[in-house]
């Protein structure tokens, strides 16, 4: 048998997404439905326009989100937790600069029993003082522990450098902020932004008209005009800086390079997605091949082009042995330069194209993966067309375009350079 000859590789098909249908409620909210899957599971995600960019003081939006499960008008915290656990369900909440999300994940047969709780949790929390204090302390401990990790620290400095103190993506959390946040502000924040007419809803899995009607009954009628406070969303895109912070006894340095650029609607966004994948977006990428697989300087290195709301960024991130920090930096800049000066060869481009198309196909594996993908797109006011456009771009991009894009966006002069570790 001839083992040196690879089996034929087939062209990679386009994914088959389950269509998304939209139900519009009286109060102007929309419910996006993706029905499918082989198990009797359903997920309902509620996404409120209540991210940290709307807060006056640090931590307010986060604590508001954290305290949702601490008891409501009708049910004590332990009763709610017991109910959710008893029915084998999960209620998870999360927040970022732009949104607060609360997700119910359960077996279909218990959906009707759980949805009143979901409503109470979101709209009728009591915010007890003791739970507030407990949560502040817990968050502060996590902050202090994370602050000891070079990669967490460099991440915070990275965003602060890219977007500045005044911008929600750049604001830097500090220890004193834990003393400044107040329960009053948290309640005020909840009162201002947690309303049924300030949300989008997403349902995925196994469900039918009954479940849709229940969602409408609880979340579809209440209407209120929301006054959005002022928030600063202008970004100054500061000139590239070099920031090296010493951390005594660090065995590794965390390196982050990058700069703020644009969001997913920019004409070069898809091209940059491809360029950053070639450079450091997969296991066999140039940065991994050179800095891990050839030099052994690191356990991992990656590059990425990310879209935020109204902006975005390009970045490179790694942790390397302290004594090879400078060598690693040199190699990273060398790879950036190669992207700008040498045309990509056909084999490598073919590999990256297939890898990316395979990855796109993978995003269609299972109803809940598809739901995550859609929610993410929707948060940028995009839909599944965006993925088809990406696939088209991947299929058609030419080596010359990659070179031109690299010259435009990978120049060293654009990059902030952040190193946290034992600096000699």
């Amino acid at each position: 048998m001839e083992r040196t000859i690879a089996p034929h590789k087939h062209a990679i098909k386009a994914p088959n997404y389950i269509p998304v249908s939209t139900v519009s409620f009286k109060n102007g909210s929309h419910l996006f439905c993706q029905e499918g899957g082989s198990q009797e599971l359903v997920s309902l995600t509620i996404r409120l326009n209540a991210g940290s960019k709307l807060q006056d003081k640090f931590l307010t939006a986060a604590l508001c989100n954290d305290l949702l499960l601490s008891g409501t008008k009708n049910h004590k915290a332990d009763e709610i937790s017991e109910k959710i656990d008893f029915l084998g369900a999960y209620i998870n909440s999360d927040y970022n600069q732009d949104f607060t999300t609360v997700q119910l994940f359960c077996m279909r047969k218990y959906f009707a029993e759980l949805i009143p709780y979901l409503y109470e949790i979101i709209f009728e929390p009591l915010f007890p003082e003791s739970e507030f204090k407990r949560m502040v302390q817990k968050k502060k401990q996590n902050f202090l522990v994370n602050n000891e990790k070079v990669h967490q620290k460099s991440r915070a400095v990275f965003f602060n450098t890219l977007f500045g103190d005044e911008n929600c993506y750049g604001a830097l959390l500090k220890e004193e902020h834990f003393e400044e946040v107040s329960l009053e502000e948290v309640k005020q924040f909840h009162n201002s932004y947690y309303h049924a007419s300030n949300m989008e809803l997403f349902m995925a899995g196994k469900f039918g008209d009954e479940e849709i009607q229940l969602v409408e009954q609880f979340f579809g009628s209440e209407k209120k005009d929301i006054e959005f406070g002022e928030f600063n969303n202008t970004i100054l895109y500061p000139k590239a800086k070099i920031i090296h912070q010493h951390k005594a006894n660090a065995l590794q340095s965390s390196i982050r390079l990058g700069y703020g650029n644009f969001d997913a609607k920019h004409p070069d966004y898809l091209n940059m997605k491809i360029v950053s994948t070639i450079l450091g977006g997969y296991f066999g990428s140039r940065l991994m091949k050179n800095i891990r697989e050839d030099k052994g300087y690191t356990y991992g290195i990656g590059s990425f082009q990310v879209s935020l709301l109204g902006t975005g960024y390009f970045g490179i991130s790694t942790e390397v042995g302290s004594q090879v920090t400078n060598n690693a930096l040199d190699e990273i800049y060398k790879e950036l330069n190669l992207m700008k000066t040498v045309l990509i060869d056909a084999d490598e481009l073919n590999l990256v194209k297939n890898y990316m198309l395979g990855n796109i196909l993978n995003s269609a594996d299972g109803i809940f993966n598809q739901a995550e993908l859609f929610k993410n797109l929707r948060s940028h006011n995009l839909d599944l067309d965006h993925i088809h456009q990406l696939a088209d771009r991947v299929r058609n991009i030419q080596p010359e375009e990659i070179l031109a894009i690299s010259n435009k966006y990978l120049d060293r002069s654009l990059m902030h350079e952040i190193v946290i570790g034992a600096i000699n």
Partner: protein
């Protein structure tokens, strides 16, 4: 219910095939029955180092990753104290590429010196990144060493010390491969929207000719019963005090394993669990506290890990943990609490079996335990557990002389 087709090739390779018509992706999972427990005490970290070398080119294929990526797939692996597990997911049309790659590295590796030198460095950086350059990063290394005196579980998969990885030679690498990487020491599972006959033919084509190898019988020193309470205090440059407490328990194949498992669920599964409700919310002694079982193939550990609230002492924390454990030893669990955990277990069972790769991994692991169908039988076992059994198990496990505790102190600030 996960259905599957099972067969064993002449060379001893166990093969499982699972059909799922809903996914455009196929998964190939290969489990080797070798882990850190099979290492020489002077060469710890070897099974894991070896996992890295498996990507450094095989006898006929110099570059593993390139082929996976060109086929539109991705791949990775992990090593535990018991097993080493490799997996590839890719568009189902390219399934044969994955079988070709996995079979060639089962046949033999390229064993290039360059690969050994580089992966040695990569693993050393991994050691630093995850264990040495992290707050609390060495806690599990200290804990294993405290709980086990004889059994190889006393070291972690990353190894006891960096020197062992630095000293590994090519001769040792080769000998490790031919002792443990053999078709008769592996389980293969293919899952996806595939046909059984076609898949079996491809598996036979690529794996059928790999020779059976002589795999040494495992004869590990068993840990003697612990008879005295153990504790260790360390002080590090970390912001918060933590308590790590472990108890010896049965192995994963033991009939009573799920009774131990449910004990950890009573303590910390969900917000209504006892640790969460009593120690975090009511008494506020810990800001976070968790309990779980390792599920090791030899008798392993039950873990309790807590982060103390500001101003609480180690003594208060330790006493509070014991108070909750003692309650389990005194009083039977109420039926509703037991029912809650059984419901939660059933639901999480359903959630976990959603992905194509998850199912392939679970089938391989169940087959290693003795029978792939355990993926379907475990649920019933969990459902049958009684309050009396839970009570007895709590009394067996939660004793001072069966416990080892690591008190991880934050260095006092001046």
């Amino acid at each position: 219910m996960i259905t599957y087709h099972k067969t064993t090739l002449e060379n001893g390779l166990k093969v499982l095939i699972h059909q799922d018509s809903t996914s455009p992706i196929a998964a190939v999972n290969v489990l080797y029955d070798v882990g850190a427990r099979d290492e020489n005490e002077e060469r710890t970290g070897f099974a894991h180092l070896f996992e890295h070398l498996m990507f450094g080119g095989s006898s006929n294929i110099p570059d593993f990753d390139t082929h996976v990526e060109t086929a539109g797939g991705s791949n990775n692996a992990f090593t535990s104290n018991d097993i080493t597990n490799y997996y590839i997911t890719l568009p189902k049309e390219n399934l044969e590429t994955a079988l070709w790659l996995e079979s060639d590295r089962m046949l033999s590796l390229a064993f290039t010196p360059k690969s050994l030198e580089v992966q040695r460095q990569v693993v050393i950086e991994e050691f630093k990144q995850n264990y040495l350059n992290q707050p609390y990063g060495d806690a599990y290394l200290l804990l294993r060493d405290l709980a086990f005196k004889v059994h190889p579980y006393k070291w972690a998969t990353i190894g006891k010390e960096i020197e062992h990885i630095e000293k590994a030679t090519m001769e040792e690498v080769k000998s490790f491969f031919f002792r443990h990487y053999a078709p008769n020491n592996a389980i293969l599972c293919v899952s996806g929207d595939i046909k059984i006959e076609d898949t079996l033919a491809m598996v036979e084509k690529w794996f059928g000719s790999i020779p059976k190898r002589s795999v040494p019988n495992r004869a590990l020193p068993q840990e003697p019963t612990q008879t005295e309470e153990r504790s260790l205090h360390v002080e590090r440059d970390v912001p918060v005090d933590m308590i790590y407490k472990v108890f010896h328990i049965c192995d994963r194949r033991d009939e009573t394993f799920f009774t131990v498992d449910i004990l950890s669920d009573i303590l910390s599964r969900g917000r209504s669990s006892r640790f969460h409700e009593i120690l975090m919310r009511q008494k506020q002694i810990f800001t976070e506290i968790d309990a779980y079982v390792g599920g090791d193939l030899d008798p392993g550990l039950f873990y309790v890990i807590g982060k103390l609230s500001h101003g609480k002492t180690m003594e208060e924390g330790d006493a509070a943990i014991w108070e909750v454990l003692d309650e389990l030893k005194k009083e039977h669990v109420q039926e509703r609490e037991l029912k809650k955990l059984k419901n939660k277990f059933e639901a999480s069972h359903l959630y976990q079996q959603a992905g194509i790769l998850d199912k392939a991994m679970e089938l391989c692991y169940a087959e290693l335990l003795g029978n792939a169908n355990l993926v379907n039988e475990d649920l019933a076992k969990y459902q049958q557990i009684t309050a009396l059994e839970v009570h007895q198990m709590a009394n067996t496990i939660f004793t001072k002389e069966n416990s080892s505790t690591l008190f991880y102190h934050a260095k006092q600030q001046d």
